[in-house]
């Protein structure tokens, strides 16, 4: 580094010539990749709008306001595709952030007990609300509140001497998850026969008939959370070097950890409250994108957002067409993808190693 500054341009062009630009993220590459992913998402979304358990003529849906096509498209199909996109995007992006938080590619909201708490809250609200005749809108609210409460409890237990240790967090999360699972099972066994069905609905996930308010709320919270996460994208890169190294590079590790944890909890809570538990999206999508596009979170987060949306829309399309006119729970489709995915990972011996 004794060379004078004038020849740094020389280096810049040499770097380009080396093809080094491929080995790191540039603004141009970010735009190009996100552009391609957006196009893919739009194609998937339009396809999902065009197909379903019944045939809808898209042209007539827009032109004939009073016709059945219009009603089906705007009342049933479009809200559903939108909700699937939002939830998929939220789960995938927050999954990627959680993996950065605990430095482990196997983390997602389900593992940290967030969605379990949300589901339990929803189920309790369902049962109590049914007895007391409460409006149906109370269920997502309780789910969200319960998810946040679970988050706070996990956080409190996982913080050791003021620091949020990744390993402890994982451990506490797994414990809480088991706890919520047990609580749900107990409730399931003690309620009457009909409520069991509603509980299953929450446990397997569904995008059935979302209200526009739910869509707007989920979109709003998801956007806020995503923006907050993006602000910490570079920090997430640095966190992967280890807490000490990240701190030595200027990252306020504790504050960043808290922020990531808070916002991912909000995002996942919002998703669970409107669609129930849907697992593996937060695991599969970030992992695939990492393998294909690299681990830089400035690209990973938005790519996971778009990829998660496309994945969820596709899974929901399958869920509602395979045994039409009846439906499969969408959580079953994603879980079915999860199994073979992990077998593939194991056989490939992927470079996303768990422990350094």
């Amino acid at each position: 580094m004794t060379r004078p500054a004038a020849s740094l341009d020389h280096f810049a062009s040499e770097a380009a010539a080396d093809g080094l630009h491929r080995a790191h993220l540039t603004f141009a590459r970010l735009l190009a990749v996100l552009g391609i992913l957006t196009v893919i998402l739009l194609i998937v979304a339009v396809t999902a709008c065009a197909f379903g358990s019944v045939h809808v003529d898209l042209v007539r849906a827009f032109s004939d306001r009073a016709g059945a096509d219009h009603a089906i498209f705007f009342a049933a199909r479009l809200p559903r595709v939108l909700m699937a996109a939002i939830v998929g995007a939220v789960l995938a992006a927050s999954g990627a952030a959680l993996q950065a938080l605990v430095r482990n590619p196997l983390a997602e909201g389900g593992i940290l007990g967030i969605s379990g708490g949300g589901a339990f809250g929803a189920i309790v609200a369902l049962i109590v609300g049914a007895r007391l005749g409460a409006p149906e809108g109370i269920v997502p609210l309780c789910a969200f509140g319960a998810a946040l409460l679970s988050t706070v409890a996990v956080y409190r237990l996982a913080v050791v001497e003021g620091r949020l240790e990744p390993f402890t967090l994982l451990l506490v999360g797994v414990i809480f998850n088991s706890f919520w699972g047990a609580a749900i099972m107990i409730v399931n066994a003690t309620v009457n026969f009909y409520v069991v069905h509603s509980i299953l609905f929450w446990l397997m996930g569904s995008f059935e008939a979302p209200t526009w308010r739910e869509i707007a709320t989920a979109a709003g919270l998801g956007t806020l959370g995503f923006a907050a996460l993006m602000a910490h994208a570079r920090d997430m890169n640095l966190l992967s070097l280890g807490d000490e190294a990240a701190g030595e590079l200027g990252v306020d590790v504790d504050r960043v950890r808290r922020a990531i944890f808070l916002w991912t909890s909000i995002m996942i809570g919002a998703a669970v409250s409107v669609s129930g538990i849907i697992s593996f999206v937060g695991l599969i999508v970030p992992h695939v994108i990492r393998l294909a596009l690299g681990a830089d979170h400035r690209l990973l987060l938005p790519a996971a957002l778009l990829g998660g949306a496309a994945f969820m829309i596709a899974a929901d399309l399958l869920a509602r067409t395979i045994i039409a006119p009846a439906e499969l729970p969408v959580g079953a489709i994603t879980a079915l993808c999860g199994g073979p995915f992990f077998v593939y990972l194991l056989r490939r011996g992927s470079c996303g190693s768990l422990w350094s």
Partner: protein, 300 residues
């Protein structure tokens, strides 16, 4: 007194003890005609027993057996899906009756293995219900009452069917609830009742008996009547959810009804009441003509 000296006496005492023990702990042998202690493992069976006049002999019932009122005071032996074998044996029944279509078949077989007399009946279709009534009547020595009851039910069904013959069938959607949407599908007695009541069940196309339909399909099928049980939570008509889809004829014309699940969902002797209620909802005009009360509708 030494044992050796009094061996015959000791042997007698021991066998007497054994006999008493056997009599105390073994299942009671029922005489073929008059069982005294009956346990019912499904609400529909409970209703049938009471309808046949065997109410006083029922000593235990499954959860949700709330009709008639006397049944509510009886000890509960577990849920409809999982009866508690210990609770059943604790009541020392002379007959246990279970439903073949539910998972309690396993427990019934277990009780049978222990030595309790059991009876398994089905109640999936209207024919099944009729057979169930006859079988239960036979086992409880009330064959005559069973024939009468079956006949009464049949004539009610026939009369409603006949009266609605001229009416044009209407598209109907019947649901157990809408969160999630679980519909009444083909192969159920409710499906048959809907047809008897002059309705076309739009869920008939599905492959399952209780299909989870998509809203899309419901909108496209355009049912003229929706009967939504709301998972047994609320007997009044469900409003907010369906009002989001005003293009459905049933919603537009305010033909959405709720129901009490104990009438509709228990395939027992009151099935004719279920039919009358359905008929009144599907064809109110014709039903009114034969004197059926039309249940209240909901105005969203």
């Amino acid at each position: 007194m030494a044992i050796g000296q009094n061996r015959p006496g000791a042997a007698l005492a021991l066998s007497a003890l054994a006999a008493i023990a056997a009599a105390t702990f073994a299942p009671a042998r029922a005489s073929a005609d008059q069982p005294r202690r009956i346990v019912s493992l499904a609400p529909a069976i409970t209703e049938t027993l009471f309808a046949l006049g065997a109410g006083p002999e029922v000593v235990g019932v499954a959860e949700l057996s709330d009709y008639p009122a006397e049944a509510r005071r009886l000890p509960i032996v577990g849920s409809f899906l999982t009866p508690n074998v210990e609770a059943v044996t604790g009541l020392r029944p002379t007959l246990v009756i279970g439903l073949g279509s539910s998972s309690n078949v396993r427990q019934v077989r277990a009780l049978e293995a222990i030595g309790y007399p059991t009876l398994i009946v089905n109640a999936d279709t209207l024919d099944d219900i009729r057979t169930m009534i006859l079988k239960v009547g036979e086992r409880t020595g009330r064959r005559h009452q069973a024939d009468e009851l079956a006949g009464t039910i049949q004539s009610h069904l026939d009369s409603v069917r006949a009266r609605l013959k001229g009416a044009a069938p209407r598209k109907v959607l019947m649901l157990v609830g809408h969160q999630p949407i679980v519909a009444v599908g083909p192969g159920t007695y409710l499906d048959e009742l809907l047809k008897c009541a002059g309705g076309i069940n739009i869920a008939d196309r599905a492959a399952q008996a209780w299909p989870r339909l998509s809203i899309e399909y419901i909108i496209a099928s355009a049912p003229e009547v929706i009967i939504d049980g709301q998972m047994g939570s609320d007997a009044s008509a469900p409003g907010g959810f369906w009002s989001r889809f005003p293009s459905i004829p049933a919603v537009r014309e305010h033909r959405i009804f709720g129901y009490r699940d104990d009438v509709m969902l228990h395939p027992g002797p009151r099935v004719w009441m279920a039919l009358e209620e359905l008929a009144a909802e599907i064809h109110p005009v014709e039903a009114g003509r034969i004197g059926l009360a039309v249940p209240a509708q909901h105005n969203p």
